[in-house]
Amino acid sequence: MTHLDELESQSIYLMREAYHAFKKPAMLWSMGKDSNVLLWLAKKAFCGHIPLPVVHIDTTYEFPEMLEFRAWAQKHYGFELTVWTNFEARARGIGYETTDPVTVTHELKTVALQQCLAANGYDALITGIRRDEDSTRAKERYFSPRNAEFEWDYKDQPPEFWNHFTTESGPGEHVRVQPLLDWTEIDIWRYLDREKVPLPGMYFSRNGQRYRSLGCMPISKPVKSDARTIDAIIEELKVTKVSERAGRAQDHHERNAMQKLRAKGFM
């Protein structure tokens, strides 16, 4: 087995475990490269089907190109799509124009997700986070419980080993299932390349720059790059020492911003 085969098998194992263990699991999808790998793996895990709802938390600050991709991909793969927006916060005037990015991220992503879970009764969320993205994500579990307030108790995480996990959640609680934890950014690109997974075009160089990580329009900054193909992107990643989420403003707004966001329920 190649390393990619091992990662693929492990992710499929985790997805199948989650699908079996929970009553109402859902899968998060941001249309970004990692979540597209997630969709692809789900198709493989469930033999061409995506038997669980796919959730997009729409902040209303999405790139139009990403929204086009969303519509296309839903039709292409065929799955049940749930789109959720925290309209209440938007009505209160929460937005990048007026508010700091950490608050906006919390309101329009975390709180929106909370509302979506409460409305739909999901008890598990399959997410596409990876350990190499961020030092707090590095400490994550494959099955990571969240209490009813969405809090992550990173100081007392359940043990997991030998393919055994915490696969139960209490009322109002949910478990984050994270099949891509062990993948690195380069693994993702190699897999996208090997499997020919469809992707939004914004990851590839246009006018000397490309997006390495995609989030809300006002706070996602492109990097300088001439990489127009996956091969070129991989070559670029081999030598870069700029961190993947450097272009995501909410991570760097204040010291430990990511830790604070994640402890309160951000992905």
């Binding site: 350990r131 997991e160 393919n163």
Partner: protein, 649 residues
């Protein structure tokens, strides 16, 4: 593959349905999963930080940011901070949880699993080490072997990790003296030998100064061995057990469309279309009709699909296969049994108790397991066995135990297929501990109960009567209540039949004449037999002063096939009168109660009781212990015998 215009360009167009091009990379994964263990403060995070730094695996800006932060605090540059990104960690200087950090050298990619050394976080260390291919064991040159050093060694051996390199750290603090290094090497070698571990190398290092990691050190010219990275680059990335027989752990059976697809993980061996497979437990057999893939491959995939792979297949026959079953070749199946011995480590605050019923997970199987006995606990630090029998395994302890699951499960032993020879025990939603199966205990399956489906088989024990006789105030009720609790906690259905309670209900029309006393006991006996026949361990607490009545009770139980034990709760009259918990003796002496046993009515002490408890001489605890053993030997005779036989295993 189509995409909306301008939105989803696939960089390299692939012909529809074409198989993925082979990757131009090494065909075999050489990715080494590495765990770093050792006592708290022996320098794990510093070592990892330094390895990352020296192999240029740190993102731009991170080292500079930490350097600035350290300078602001007036500290030296701290490599450990490269890892310890969380706020609390920097405050306490302790790694909080398992972290996985990828890095690569020219020879191979690595993932470091940072397992913390802080005592409370042993579960994280196990979480990390269980998935590692190799371990670096760090020992502080100044401090030498400490408690966690030894404990971690023990757990590495239990987890089956065999590739271990010892790094003696902080050599700079002992002036790079070879005698310090040699002393640690000698002591640790001896300890590891007892665990069956032979380290690949002992290497003197100073993580802080980068000595002995990527390059040697001029200050340790006396050391002629390899550097740490040399050793790590030569370790094997553990190949999955591909040589073994097929073991397919069934995760689920999907019926999204007309196909009935069995999905699962190949734990060992391989599977191809046409292979004959038996699913255990159960023993249903069929052949593989197809291996399902998405996108559909052309031609259809025929296999072999090897170990470590997820697979989805259909069978030639419509079998009822379910999650938890294991697919195996006809001639080489795993064991299918209920009782086995195992070494377990416990990582939950609530101890594992003898007699308790606890959920067990092995592969994708789940079953309730009864802890039949805890043979011995092992002190993971001294490797000494605990003395005598023990009732529980506490947090961070290791023990040899005997388990019996309620339904047969399939497993392998002796390292044949490691993944199917180990299990976890669940404490609530969390894993409470893990274990490795050592041996199967052959058990006669049909000795409990009667009929095809017996109550005993459901309950895990049989009904019986524990008949406690003795003077009023001798301690019957107290002991009966305590015994009931003990049995209930051990998962044994039990009930107290109390004389005083009978007298207020079933026998309320009776007095205390000899005839009425006999009738009262006849009713009590029949009630006890009914309850015991229904599977209950009946604890009768009755003065029952006459030998004849007790003999009749024993006789009736024998007729009905109900095990019966006569327990004499013996305390001298004077003592009972002194205790007088219900003030009955006082009333009897005052003539307010007539025909009171011991005062104006006789008590005929048993001539040959099955057990006699001198409650005036021994402690309540001792009495309860003896009673419990007596009750268990009646309720679960076979396990008692097994426990006895297992004592010298």
């Amino acid at each position: 593959m189509n995409a909306p215009p301008d939105t989803a360009p696939t960089p390299k167009a692939a012909a529809p349905g074409a198989p993925a091009a082979p990757a131009a990379r090494p065909s075999q994964s050489d990715h080494l999963q590495l765990v770093v263990v050792g006592h708290v403060d022996h320098g794990k995070s510093t070592l990892i930080g330094r390895l990352l730094f020296d192999t240029h695996s740190v993102p731009d800006g991170k080292a500079e940011r930490i350097e600035a932060a350290c300078k602001a605090e007036g500290m030296e540059f701290e490599y450990a901070f490269l890892l310890d990104a969380l706020l609390e960690e920097q405050a306490q200087n302790i790694t909080m949880d398992t972290t996985r950090v990828p890095f690569r050298t020219e020879r191979r990619p690595f993932t470091i699993i940072d397992a913390p050394g802080h005592k409370e976080f042993l579960k994280n260390m196990i979480t990390g080490a269980a998935s590692a291919d190799a371990a670096v064991l760090l020992v502080d040159a100044q401090e030498g072997l400490r408690e966690q050093t030894r404990r971690h060694c023990f757990l590495l051996s239990l987890l089956g990790l065999r590739q271990i390199v010892v790094a003696v750290n902080k050599m700079d603090l002992v002036d790079y003296r070879p005698d310090v290094f040699d002393a640690i090497r000698t002591e640790l070698s001896e300890f590891l030998a007892k665990l069956g571990i032979e380290p690949a190398h002992f290497i003197p290092i100073s993580a802080k100064h980068g000595e002995g990691l990527l390059r040697g050190s001029g200050r340790m010219a006396w050391y002629r061995g390899p550097t740490l990275l040399d050793v790590l680059e030569r370790f094997r990335a553990n190949p999955p057990a591909s040589g073994g027989p097929l073991r397919l752990s069934v995760q689920d059976v999907y019926r999204f469309d007309s196909r009935r697809i069995i999905a699962g993980l190949i734990e060992s061996g391989s599977v191809s279309v046409g292979d004959a497979i038996e699913f255990v437990p159960g023993g249903k057999r069929s052949r593989v009709r197809s291996i399902e893939t998405w996108p559909q491959s052309d031609p259809p995939r025929a296999g072999p699909v090897g170990s470590g792979s997820e697979v989805a297949l259909t069978l030639e026959d419509e079998l009822f296969v379910e999650r938890g079953q294991i697919g195996a070749p006809l001639g080489d199946k795993p064991y299918e049994a209920r009782t086995f011995t195992a070494r377990v480590f416990w990582i939950h605050d609530t101890p594992l108790r003898s007699g308790e019923l606890i959920p067990l997970k092995l592969g994708t199987q789940q079953a309730e397991a009864r802890v039949l006995g805890i043979q011995r606990t092992l002190d993971a630090v001294t490797l000494e066995s605990g003395t005598g029998t023990t009732g529980e395994v506490k947090v961070h302890e290791v023990a040899e135990i005997r388990l019996r699951v309620r339904k047969p499960i399939a497993f392998d032993v002796g390292g044949k297929v490691p993944a199917l020879g180990r299990f976890v025990l669940m404490r609530g939603r969390r894993i409470g501990g893990g274990g490795v199966i050592d041996s199967v205990v052959d058990e006669p399956t049909a000795t409990l109960g009667k009929g095809p489906v017996s109550r005993a088989a459901i309950l895990g024990h049989r009904g019986c009567i524990i008949w406690m006789t003795g003077l009023s105030g001798s301690g019957k009720s107290t002991l009966a209540q305590a015994l009931e609790q003990r049995l209930l906690t051990s998962g044994i259905l039990s009930a107290v039949l109390d004389g005083d309670v009978l007298r207020t209900g079933l026998s309320r029309n009776l007095g205390f004449t000899p005839d009425d006393r006999s009738e009262n006991l006849r009713r009590a006996t029949e009630l006890a037999i009914h309850l015991a026949d229904a599977g209950v361990v009946v604890i009768a607490a009755l003065i029952s002063p006459y030998r004849l009545d007790r003999a009749m009770a024993a006789e009736r139980a024998k007729e009905k096939g109900i095990p019966f034990a006569e327990i004499y709760i013996n305390a001298p009259l004077a003592e009972c009168e002194r205790r007088d918990p219900k003030q009955l003796y006082r009333k009897a002496r005052a003539g307010q109660i007539l025909q009171f046993t011991g005062i104006d009515s006789p008590y005929e002490a048993p001539l040959a009781p099955d057990l006699e408890l001198r409650t005036d001489r021994e402690s309540v605890g001792d009495s309860i212990e003896k009673l419990t053993q007596a009750a268990l030997s009646l309720a679960r005779p076979q396990e008692q015998a097994l426990d006895g036989a297992g004592a010298d295993i």
